[in-house]
Amino acid sequence: MSTDRTSAVRLAWRQIGRSRRDGSAWILLIALVVAVAAVGAVSQMTDRVRAGMERQGAATLAGDLELELRAPLDEKRAAILDEIGVAHHGVTVFPSVVSQNDDEITLVSVKAVEDGYPLRGEVTLRRGDPGSPTKTVTRAPEPGTAWVAQRILDAQQLAVGDTLHLGDARLKIAAVLVIEPDRGQGFANIAPRVLIRDADVAGTGLLGPGSRANYDERIAGEPAALEQVRERLEPTLQPGERLRTPAESNRALARALDRADVFLDLAALVAVVLAGVAIALTARQHASSRLDEIALLKTLGAARGLIARLMAWQLVFVGAIGIGLGLLVAWLAQLGISQLIARAFEIQLPTASWLALWPAAATGAVLLAGFAWPALAQARATPPARVLARSLAEQRGRMWLIYAAALASVALLAAAATRDITLTAWVVGATIGGTAVLWVVALGLLAGIDRLRPRIGNRGGPGLRLALSALARRRQASALQIVAFGIGLTMLFMLVIVRGDLLAGWQADIAADAPNRFLINITREQQPAVAERLQQAGLDADFYPLVRGRLTAVDGTAIEDDGELAEQAGELTRRELNLSWIDDLKNDNRIVAGQWFDADDTGKPRMSIDTSVAERLGVDVGDSLTFDITGTPVTATIESIREIDWSSLQANFYVLFAPGVLDEFSATYITSLYVPDDAHGVIGALVREFSNISVIDIAAILEQLTTLIDRLSLAIELVFGFTLAAGLVVLLAAMQASRAERLREAALLRALGARSSWLRQATFGECLLIGLCASLLAAAIAQVTAIVLAVWVFDLGYAWRWPLWLMAISIATAVIALSGLASLREVLRQPAWASLRASD
């Protein structure tokens, strides 16, 4: 290393030591620490919250992965799982009947599980009558015993302790099965459950060659191991076999997780933008505070090269200290918060990795290099004569290229941290657009205030007059502050709205009156009578006709003749599908291609299918599907493709025919309805009157979803709280940027005879107006952006929330005004003379 270079490093290090009393260096350092800490903590936290949520989701599958099979797991693949070291066990589900006495036959769904069930989640059991206390266990039933759904006990007049006749086996009923974690949704498993041990299956004699049974292997393990499972098992999958995550197997959960995921990413992005604003604000100030030093060094004979190196090294030292401290804070914050998360999700989270903090460190480095270095590099050109005349200021070069490059780098980093390019593009685009709008409107507002000033004249007292004159005279600086606060507040406001929408959307999903019972098997003749009984009881119910049919051909090609097509279609061909028809499109359905039926379509062979069916079969509008309905082939053209919101828990159908097409087939009716606790008798009476009608109770599923969403909401609140805190700290740092100027001004005004109360009023008034302008503009921009986000990204409806706005604007304005006032305390504490000398 050359002497010159060494001296630059040494000099830089000493200067850092000396700049302890330099306010701008401190602010830059604080902004950097906050930036790195916020990005680090939020991204760490989102990772862990995400892990927590996935675990929570895993409970709905009683495992992290589900391997859908056509036969019990073969030894080869079992060996692969064992080799990877994940926990796994098989689950067999098959239909059967229970008939204790010959009068009553109850269709049941038998589920046989191995020791170790459930890998995730817990089973809720009850020993006594309905309403008696329940308990949760995380184990399988003992061999020779069964856990049985209440419906079976009622139908067969059995009780806990009795013996259940299941095929040839005699099993002791050990408990009532209240909730099994992996019950799943939909109508596939509508028969009441009998949960038994795998060892007892053979004894029933119910499973032989050709029996209809579903075989699943449930797998649980660490994310890395699961990834390995995917890699190694996917190539071994045979037609009809599938590997699924909880999200893939549970659509309501998938939607909730997706939205939470986007929100968490948004929170991390906001942290990056806020940090960028703070650093950009403080870096310029820091650079201009270096001007005298540079001029002096030049006078003493330092060449431009040396000065450049000196500046660079100073930045490296500030960066190293700031990023190091920021990472430390992030680490400590996430330690504390992961405790909270672990408690909320009742799980042990894997330790976070330091490596995962790299986007935070890189963000800090890019922000510093992108925003602080250009200003410093420019300061390098300071003429030495500045030592004699301070008015010889820095020349302004063309900085926009550098700033644009810095912005682009930050955007890339944000995209890397969130792995969501679309969202990042939205946020960056909105930031740039918002900044431009803020700048123009802020200048306009300030010009307006200047015009009003003479009219207010002496009426407002010296405080108000000083505040208005400060605003009007420092128009550029005030506009800059409005823009800075505006961007920060826009981000925070947006997060507030989106968070509210998200929580409200979830609440709507699990609304108190979400359907908790399905009535099925209602004949066409019974339907009017059933509808009347329900209406008399004050229960709302929509009835849908239902005809069952098996998919046999796609565009005229028989599925059984086409192996590839059969593989694609999977379970769509293995079981009969529920086919229905309705006149009007339901609220929880949305057309994504084609047109909904009109009056002309009635009776014509047209159909509307769900997106998942279209994707699976690779069909589009205009293609045709053929169903076998009680031996008669029915072919219809696809007129539209619908996206169904399964989280509504309403009755929905993959395939809807145009009204009139299926009239010739005998249909049954289905309805979903909310039955309050005190109206159970109505349903009981209905079932007694029409004995063929079956009732499906989905209250347990609903309860599980509610628990999950409650926990997701808590996670969202935690992350939001942190971003909000980070945003506030960054806002305060931005406020600090104008502090030195305010101090000097206040000191001078005091020397000239201004009273403390005037100064307080003036500063409060000025900051209040800046805060008000910033928060009003931010509210307007955030409102527009939030509508766009809600409708396009989160797929939620939007509601205006005036009280929220009123509160957000008041709080933001008050915080800005009070922090301005706080910065004045220092100057009011010491004699005017001391403040003036200090600023000399």
Binding site: S391, N458, P462, L466, R473, L748, L752, G753, P831, R837
Partner: protein
């Protein structure tokens, strides 16, 4: 005769420097009548600026009493002293102390605004004063765009804007070259004579000091009159 414009009795200032107490000013006695011009000279570090701050009520003495424009300062707090100064006391600083974000005109208007004057009238007064110091063409410029001499002339205009009864000047030429300094001083004395202001001028420049009617020297914390 009316009460003196300024009267200091046994004015002393001691500061704690580490474990030792350092006496900067010790028993200063001074009385100024309205319209007097007084210079205080002394070497660097003799405590000239500290004395000026005490006399102007910008700082508080460790001991002694000060009466400014007939008002006892010792029993007033910082705010009350500021209120008393408002519109009555003017300042000229060595480093100008102009507000960088404000134009020359706005800098001069500032003290008038503090007294609650009408904005339009205040601006007229400020403009007239700036014309008087030869800056008619630069009223829209900010301090950054002005030379040192021009900045100090703006400071002069600001100091006289309220027609103060007493003006404190702290090394007004300290940051200016000889010729520029002389011009500024000429303008200062011109305005001073015109408004009949009492003047306290701190300087290390003997020639400048000689332009005041009364001359004092500060050494070892004591003030001696020539």
């Amino acid at each position: 005769m009316s009460s003196p414009a300024l009267e200091a009795v046994d004015l002393s200032k001691t500061i704690e420097s580490g474990e030792r107490a350092l006496t900067i000013l010790d028993g200063i006695e001074l009385s100024l009548n309205t319209g007097d011009t007084l210079s205080i000279v002394g070497t660097s570090g003799s405590g000239k600026s500290t004395l000026l701050a005490l006399l102007a009520g910008l700082d508080t003495p460790s001991r002694g009493k000060l009466s400014l424009l007939g008002r006892e300062m010792s029993d007033l707090d910082e705010d009350a002293r500021a209120a008393w100064r408002s519109g009555q006391v003017g300042f000229v600083f060595q480093s100008f102390q102009l507000l960088s974000g404000l134009s020359a005109l706005d800098n001069v208007t500032l003290p008038l605004e503090l007294t609650g004057a009408d904005l339009g009238e205040a601006r007229e007064t400020a403009q007239r004063l700036l014309e008087q110091v030869g800056l008619a063409h630069r009223i829209k410029h900010t301090p950054r765009q002005l030379s040192g001499g021009e900045q100090q002339r703006v400071a002069l205009a600001r100091a006289f804007a309220c027609r103060p009864k007493i003006l404190f000047a702290d090394e007004p030429t300290g940051n200016l070259d000889g010729a520029t300094g002389a011009e500024v001083i000429d303008q200062l004395f011109e305005l001073n004579a015109e408004q009949g202001t009492t003047l306290v001028l701190v300087t290390h420049d003997e020639d400048l000091a000689a332009r005041c009617a009364r001359r004092t020297r500060l050494a070892d914390g004591h003030l001696r009159e020539h």
